[in-house]
Subunit: 187 residues, 2 copies
DNA sequence: GCTTTTAGCTAACGATGTTAGCCAGCCCTG
DNA sequence: CAGGGCTGGCTAACATCGTTAGCTAAAAGC
């Protein structure tokens, strides 16, 4: 039995990639084992099980999303920053639907949970966008939740093919950015 | 073996109720069978399998959501209608998280698919809200998608406990309604 | 080089979805 | 009211999947 040289990070990365390819619901331990060149039980040397794997994929996805959004925002402010953040977020979800799906429903076990840390980073990236608008201190939490709901809702609906009828989806998203910009400005 | 007198509708209704109780992910054929007082294989006399069951629950959920939103909107217009629709939708998702979760990711097989019909009804209820605003014909599709994304995103994030930090969630939702109203008015 | 650790393996078990095939209760005609 | 067919229930069995137990050989450290 030749050693493959796996480690938790490699397993999680492969799992995330596989989830993107076949859908999170079809990510099976057997499939993942085959992908990394190992028998299913061997995976348990690196991850605790399917639930643990899901949590780790979620943490990875949130971290990557935070990087993407955070990077896209840099150097922009106001509407440009909003547009950059929203586009980066949507692009990430559409390119990585499987790993993003893993983030839905995971509850951080505590403040030190990698999921919580990565989630906070992603929120921070969106928070930076809001700084470009004049929003009352007491409203920033609400605005942040709104932004998150809007981006999350649109991206997941599109990823699930939830938009059936005619109009162009990209166009709708640009319209949505303009809408959010108006609403934040008129706050 | 006494006859229980099941039919597809009863099985689907029980499945939807059970999904709300234990979560869609934990809705198992065995559990559903136990709930309706029957052995697992007997369920297959009424539904085609788990995937078919999921589709039927989704159709039921969309239909109920359409009723809830449509009913809430009646007699209101403009911001009142928007608020009523949004509140009704969120209340439905929070009261029935399991069956609503079943709607995510189902693709209608065609225009006659009950899922498609119920989905159209729900969209129609939101469309009625938009009629209270002065929106260009070419923008209604975009506005509809925005509204759907906003409601879907907020409700699913809350249902999944996605809002961790402090501020009151009900307050955020009311803020979100005001935000959407501003944005639609300033279109 | 020997020991210790550990990453891989095979074997096996439990849970779950599903199919096959049987049988009894209900409806409906004669 | 009797008998026949439909149909909704059952048991038995199987495939798949996640997971655990226990073994073995490769790597790492003294």
């Amino acid at each position: 039995m030749p050693r493959v040289g796996l480690d938790p990070a490699a397993v999680v990365a492969a799992g995330a990639a596989l989830a993107d390819e076949v859908g999170l619901a079809n990510l099976t331990m057997g499939l993942l084992a085959e992908r990394v060149g190992v028998r299913p039980p061997s995976l348990y040397k690196h991850v605790g099980g399917q639930e643990d794997l899901n949590r780790r994929i979620a943490a990875l996805a949130l971290s990557e999303a935070a990087d993407a959004v955070g990077g896209a925002v840099q150097g922009y402010a106001g509407r440009d920053a909003l547009a950059a953040a929203a586009r980066a977020f949507r692009a990430f979800v559409l390119e990585h639907p499987g790993r993003y799906a893993a983030t839905i429903g995971v509850e951080p076990s505590g403040p030190d949970d990698p999921v919580a840390i990565a989630g906070q980073r992603l929120l921070g990236a969106f928070m930076a966008v809001l700084r470009g608008y004049e929003i009352a201190e007491s409203d920033t939490d609400h605005a942040l939740r709104m932004l998150r709901s809007l981006c999350h809702g649109f991206a997941t609906l599109q990823a699930a093919n939830g938009f059936q009828w005619s109009a162009d989806v990209d166009e709708s998203f640009e319209w949505l950015i303009a809408f959010a910009d108006r609403g934040l400005r008129a706050g």
